[in-house]
């Protein structure tokens, strides 16, 4: 092989790899992007029938005070997440994160079906003074945001 051929073989390989990676990235983006909604948006979209049952969502807001209960199997937690205008019921099976508390901002990821948000993950923060930006966003949208 001549030097030029050698160089082209590397450039060709590079392009091939980049094209492959781009294909992977694009298909992964199509399937795996999760949109964030506030409780009000979920309620409105659900009423307007704009939510597909199999669509993965994120919801953020405050855990409504006094709403945390257990479903009859004992291992499933049920609570309300609110943006102080609307709230939705969230169910999560398992042990809630350590920083989960009533009144605290959380983000839940899962599916909305039959008026219940079935969460597969519940995120609370490592630091109790921190408000997730998504929760802040939900409160701003509902006009209930009070900066400290």
């Amino acid at each position: 092989m001549k030097n030029r051929q050698k160089r082209f073989s590397f450039i060709g390989l590079g392009f091939l790899l980049i094209a492959g990676a781009a294909a992977l990235v694009l298909s992964a983006f199509e399937d795996n992007i999760v949109f964030f909604h506030s409780p009000t948006e979920i309620v409105n979209k659900f009423r307007a029938q704009k939510l597909k049952p199999a669509q993965r969502l994120r919801v953020g807001g405050l855990v409504e005070k006094g709403s945390v209960t257990k479903v009859s199997d004992g291992a499933t937690n049920r609570f309300k997440v609110t943006d102080l205008n609307n709230s939705i019921i969230v169910e999560f099976r398992g042990i809630l994160p350590d920083l989960f508390r009533e009144g605290q901002g959380i983000v839940a990821e899962g599916f909305y079906q039959n008026n219940i948000f079935n969460a597969t993950d519940v995120l609370a923060k490592h630091d109790e003074t921190y408000m997730p930006p998504e929760v802040a966003e939900a409160l701003k949208k509902s006009g209930q945001w009070k900066p400290q």
Binding site: M1, N3, K6, S9, F10, L13, G14, L17, I18, A21, L24, V25, S27, A28, F29, D31, N32, I33, V34, F35, F36, R58, K70, S72, D73, G74, A75, R93, G94, I95, L96, P97, D98, L99, V107, E109, L123, K125, H126, D127, E128, T129, Y130, P132, P133, E134, E137
Partner: protein
């Protein structure tokens, strides 16, 4: 008084860094040896000053001086000494001070041990290192000063976040920073070489060990963090593709690529502009990581209370540093001539392919990590990109990489013999295929990808092993000669063997633990039994236990399998008094085939039982073992004498480095 002195020497260190970044650089320009001679002592003094400042802050933590705001908000008298000390870097201000300390430490190391560098290069490296120092020290002094006082001093502090009160996490930040910031040195070398307009094998010979050291620390730091998440967060997982984890993983990928390309630059005097480019990118990703963690722009489970002005400052630092370096690269890069000519099938070819894949993988992780930010800025809504994206992009990219990792070490420089290599690897290929088929047929038919993962692990491990045996000519020469040559193998080759085998073992652990994890969540009363992966768990009792600064609810499980296996697991839920915060302490018992993992949760008021979460995490210990082997590989390789002898001084007298510039 000590606090004010700490603050004062920090200001002095900023001035020193400024001096170090300007005067010697002018000296190089004017060919003035006296001005150039300032660089090395300035670097050492700068380090000593920051060390003094750091010790002053540590002192404030140890004696619990609550007149310092930083101590008040992050410490408490009722905290064990270890966590008082680790509390110094368990917060934003202190951790940035540690950053600056390590940055200047690397500078001082070059000043002390860089005797056989060309004098101009040494001065320029120190100059660039000091510029970074100016940026970070200004950042600390203007936006994140740890020495601010409060009056009157409160009685007690609010304590360190209990999640951070853990031996694993006490050492996670220093290790990670040694890695992150270690890349600053290769960055400084790259920029200095661009200013100098000359990159030769000697330059690469210098860059290699420092990259290796940074890589080793970074690997250790990431693994320690992952291990902590595994046993502390009680989710049974060890990697969540969270933005902050990605922030440490991207520089790791770039550093891995840099590690390999610098070998080509050193041995073959080739790939030089690529190596420089990677050095800039690797440190750029470190800075980006710092920005992502410290600014809180992206939702992350790791996000700490953040302050927008700090984010803007780091972003500015990032743009100036990396933008400047790239401009310099665009200007000077084309003049870097590459001499090495090689065939695509050669060790260079293999290393280039590895570099391609690692860089593209880092780029696609970057894309996924920053995508929510782009979408947010364009006001298209708030989105998140989670684990499924990263897994479906990253995993397929690693498949060709591991295949090549098995082959490339066999190939010779310049031009490799493909047929000879495939002959040597035939058996290895067959063994891996059998291993993969075995897993698919016997263990699990639902997941072809995991069978492939195990096959790749076997492939890499045995190929690396065969490569070692062919290097020492095992069974081709008398065994005694082989044994003799095993001792004579260069340490750097041992490093490669260890690191590649470590990765192979880790791949098996990663594959198994992410596919065949068994999870069981239930409410258990005393005496209740649950069977998970063949082990029978019985909840014996739950009792309250008093710790040094917490009260724990401790569950006691007896775990049985057959007649011989009987262990007790004691997971806890700890309630810290000072912060009214709860942490989960998973109980883990490691066996060769996997971890038994139990977590105890809240009491269920209706039934009187406790929620428990029990996992069987197959081959997780393999992952840690593999990671330890990788770090060990880096350490062994670092002891290679060849790394320490500078190429230009090899024949000259090493002591006489104060050569006058021609």
């Amino acid at each position: 008084m000590i606090i004010e002195s700490g603050h004062f020497v920090l200001i002095l260190s900023l001035l020193m860094a400024f001096l170090q970044s300007t005067v010697p650089m002018i000296g190089v320009h004017l060919r003035n040896n006296q001005l150039m001679a300032i660089a090395a002592p300035a670097a050492i003094i700068q380090f000593v000053l920051i060390l003094g400042s750091f010790l002053a802050l540590t002192y404030a933590y140890v004696v619990s001086d609550f007149s310092v705001i930083n101590v008040t908000s992050n410490s408490h008298t009722a905290k064990p000494l270890l966590y008082k000390v680790s509390g110094v870097w368990g917060n934003h201000e202190g951790s940035m001070l540690l950053w600056a300390l390590i940055l200047s430490g690397y500078g001082a190391a070059i000043a002390l041990f860089g005797g056989n560098l060309t004098p101009t290069l040494k001065v320029r490296v120190l100059g660039v290192q000091a510029m970074l120092g100016v940026g970070i020290l200004a950042f600390i002094l203007f936006t994140s000063n740890p020495f601010l006082r409060v009056f009157p001093a409160p009685e007690n502090g609010s304590g360190l976040n209990p999640l951070l009160q853990d031996p694993g996490l006490a050492f996670h930040p220093p290790l990670l920073y040694l890695g992150y910031v270690g890349l600053s040195l290769t960055f400084s070398f790259a920029v200095a070489a661009l200013i100098e307009g000359r990159v030769d094998a000697a330059w690469a010979r210098w860059v290699r060990p420092w990259t290796l050291a940074a890589w080793g620390f970074l690997t250790g730091g990431i693994v320690l963090g992952s291990w902590w998440a595994y046993y502390e967060l009680g989710w049974g997982g060890w990697w969540f593709w969270d933005p902050v984890e990605n922030a440490s993983f991207m520089p790791w990928l770039a550093a891995t690529a840099l590690l390999h390309s610098s070998i080509v630059s050193e041995k073959r005097d080739s790939l030089k502009s690529w190596t420089i480019f990677l050095a800039i990118v690797a440190f750029g990703l470190s800075l980006l990581g710092t920005f992502l963690v410290r600014s809180g722009v992206i939702t992350s489970v790791h996000a700490f209370a953040s302050d927008p002005t700090r984010g803007v400052f780091i972003l500015l630092l990032l743009v100036v540093t990396i933008g400047g370096a790239f401009l310099l690269f665009a200007w000077r890069g084309p003049s870097l001539k590459t001499d090495g000519i090689f065939h695509p099938v050669s060790r260079e070819g293999g290393l280039i392919l590895n570099n391609f894949i690692l860089t593209i993988a880092a780029a696609s992780i970057l894309l996924g990590t920053l995508y929510p930010l782009f979408v947010d800025v364009l006001e298209l809504g708030k989105v998140s990109v989670g684990a499924p994206y990263f897994e479906s992009v990253f995993v397929p990219m690693m498949i060709p990489m591991i295949v090549v990792m098995g082959i490339a070490p066999f190939l010779r420089w310049k031009r490799g013999d493909f047929n000879k290599t495939t002959n040597k690897l035939k058996v290895v290929g067959v063994i891996s295929l059998i291993g993969g088929c075995f897993v698919w047929l016997i263990v699990d038919r639902s997941s072809a990808l995991s069978s492939l993962g195990i096959a790749l692990s076997i492939w890499l491990f045995s190929a690396t092993f065969v490569e070692l045996t062919s290097r020492i000519k095992l069974f081709q020469v008398p065994l005694k000669d082989s044994m003799r040559s095993i001792i004579r193998q260069p340490r750097a080759s041992w490093g490669m063997t260890f690191a590649h085998m470590g990765l192979a073992i880790a791949v098996a652990g990663i594959t198994a633990s992410s596919t065949w994890k068994v999870e069981s969540i239930q409410v258990m009363k005393f005496g209740d039994q649950v069977k998970v992966a063949g082990y029978t768990y019985t909840l014996k009792e739950v009792r309250k236990v008093q710790g040094p600064n917490y009260i724990a609810t401790r569950g006691i499980f007896s775990v049985k399998k057959g007649d011989n296996f009987n262990v007790t697991l004691k997971p806890e839920k700890r309630e810290y008094q000072t912060r009214t915060m709860v942490t989960t302490e998973a109980a883990i018992y490691s066996t060769f085939f996997g971890d038994l993992y139990a977590v105890v949760g809240d009491r269920d008021e209706n039934s009187g039982g406790y929620i428990t979460r029990i996992y069987f995490n197959p081959l997780v210990p393999w992952m840690w073992a593999g990671a330890i082997l990788m770090v060990l590989g880096a350490a062994i390789s670092l002891t290679d004498r060849r790394h320490r002898v500078g190429a230009p001084a090899r024949n000259a007298n090493i002591g006489t480095s104060q050569v006058i510039v021609k």
